[in-house]
Amino acid sequence: MALRNMVQALNLALRQEMAKDERVVVFGEDVARQGGVFRVTEGLLDQFGGRRVFDTPVSEAGIIGISTGLALAGMRPVCEIQFSGFMFNALHQLGLMAARYRCRSRGLFSVPMVVRAPWGGGVRALELHNESEEAVYAQMPGLKVVIPSRPRRARALLLASIRDPDPVVFLEPKRVYRSLREEVPDDEEVFPIGEAEIIRHGRHLTLITYGALLQECLQAVEQAERDFQVSIEVIDLLTIVPLDTRTIVESVQKTGRCVVVHEAPRSCGIASEIIARINEQCLLYLHAPVARVTGYDIPYPFFAREHAYLPNVPRILDAIRRTLEF
């Protein structure tokens, strides 16, 4: 095993799967010669050549649309949207077409593709380079949505996504790309789509999150456990659609208290859906309202103000405290 950051882990997954399955092709804006603006696709052009790794014009609907066509023809396209917010230029192709081909043709056609995109904020990037639009996909049935939080799972989930028979939106927390290293085995490892992971067990409160904020959550949890003398269960969702309701429900039925943390705007976000499911399946177990620590219902601000927008350790800690004290 070697220590790898998330960029390296993703690159490994792509390289290994491309070597194994020649149906896999990689394309997007600046992914070939440049190796991607974050270098996730670095070296693929040299190794696999211009037929299987190619740059596209600035054309997001085009990328998703041709990716759909490639998948319909039996290829395994892995395309990149340079920043996930630019997916809004292509949501008609993604949500109305790619997501529905199987359904509208009763399985005659299917779209086994992966759309990768750097996602989320916290890196002092330009406007529109910080979006967290995952909840939008939840309203577009037919898609799966995966958001790894650390290198090892990122690699294993990307493999699962490429092999999945349906379209997967694979969102990569850019804040984690190079900020964190982990043992990532050289040998192939797959982690199933649709399974959340319990990162640490606990009895008094369930903390649910995904993406870059897992780090903030773990910090807050350590402090909370010390300060409040409790044990907290931390769930890393990993797959956002479909949600692993069972893991959530079992944990909350055990702890009776829950905090959900994400960067995306609050209203109709993933936290809302988790709360709705908890309401349906654990109401009588709840000792306190489920708390949300999320982005606010405003556009992601220009970067000088992003620290005030993003959930951070004090906010998470406060939500934990309020939920414990309720």
Partner: protein
């Protein structure tokens, strides 16, 4: 140094069989007689089907659907140029071409009866689903073509869309990507002069739609879309070019929607009867019949026989479709969303099942109004 001319472009027009059925023999393609007859059959079938579907729609046995009346030649002429392993990406008025390709009639009916079953057709046809989102299919076509290119397969993709579709961003991105990669794809714009109520002149200021190809660095050609021979010859050339790796072509087939946009539309709101009549005089079927007649391939009697045969075919298909509709299980709407349903979706399916147990059957409540 004064202004300098950097580049020159032009757009041509092709017609072989003119409005009066006169053929330009220097351009006439050597199509086998069986094909000529098959063309006649498919155009006639498409037109008869259209009429039958209107009646079914009025009876509430079919939903809103777009008529193909007047446009039977364009798609069919172009599709004659394809091989069986080529991909055909239709729009929603390509009935004659789809039938030529072998699409079972009842599939078409089921589709407009509001059943996904209508979109499940034989895989070996290599025909993509009928698109509803205007322009979207052009990108899928480029993807299919790229797949052939990447694999080194020798297949060509042909995609159909309307004059209105050329205004969508998707069309633009499709053409641009196809140009950049020199993808083996033929773009066929069936310019029927209207996008619902908006006339071609207000869809774009360009003199022709074919010249839009200049923006992407590949050839464009205007074709008489009511002339099967011209469509075939133009498509043949474009398919050949694509197959040889020389990239895409844009064909603009000039035709006219003689009927309403869909059964929900009233064309009198936006166009004159006189205009319609002018185009009716250019009816592709009339023209084709004269051509066959000149070649001794058509008689009144043959026509009568053909129509009887096709009528029976249509009735059979209507029957088949209604049988399938009557037994369609509403719950199956869950079954093809993903290859495998998540536990939560399975639970939703059970939830739906509970309520359907009480409610009326599908055919009674919904397929008939």
């Amino acid at each position: 140094m004064p202004r300098q001319q950097l580049a020159q472009f032009h757009v041509d027009y092709l017609q072989i069989l003119d409005e009066n059925g006169r053929v330009d023999t220097t351009l006439e393609p050597p199509l086998p007689e069986a094909t000529l007859w098959q063309v006649h059959r498919c155009m006639t079938l498409a037109r008869m089907l259209d009429r039958r579907m209107h009646i079914l729609q009025q009876q509430g046995r079919l939903g809103t659907f777009p008529s193909c009346y007047g446009q039977e030649a364009a798609g069919l002429g172009c599709v004659l140029a394809l091989r069986q392993d080529d991909w055909l990406v239709p729009c929603y008025r390509e009935n004659s071409a789809l039938l030529y390709r072998g699409l079972p009639l009842h599939n078409l009916l089921l589709f407009w009866m509001g059943l996904e079953e209508g979109a499940y057709w034989p895989r070996e046809l290599r025909v993509l689903s009928i698109p509803i989102l205007i322009g979207s299919q052009t990108l899928h076509a480029v993807g299919l073509a790229l797949a052939s290119q990447i694999r080194g397969a020798n297949e060509v993709t042909m995609v159909f869309f309307g004059d209105g579709a050329t205004s969508e961003g998707d069309f633009h991105e499709a053409c641009n990507l196809a140009g950049v990669y020199q993808a083996p794809v033929v773009f066929v714009c069936v310019n029927n002069q209207y996008a619902i109520s908006v006339p071609r002149s207000q869809q774009s200021r360009s003199e022709t739609l074919a010249q839009k190809a200049i923006a992407y660095g590949f050839p464009g050609l205007v074709v008489d879309g009511n002339d099967v021979l011209a469509c075939y010859v133009a498509a043949q050339e474009a398919v050949e070019r694509a197959r040889l790796g020389r990239g895409p072509t844009l064909l603009e087939c000039l035709t006219y929607r003689l009927g309403p946009h869909t059964t929900a539309d009233d064309p009198r709101r936006y166009r004159s009867e006189q205009e319609r009549q002018q185009w009716e005089a250019r009816d592709p079927l009339k023209r084709w019949r004269i051509y066959l007649e000149q070649r001794g391939l058509w008689s009144e009697q043959q026509q009568a026989e053909l129509e009887r045969e096709l009528q029976a075919e249509i009735e059979l298909a209507v029957h088949q479709a209604e049988q399938i509709a009557a037994h369609a299980d509403p719950l199956e709407m869950f079954d093809f969303v993903y290859a495998e349903l998540s536990p939560d979706l399975l639970a939703q399916r059970r939830e739906a099942a509970e309520f359907l147990a009480h409610s009326e059957t599908l055919s009674a409540s919904s397929v008939r109004r």
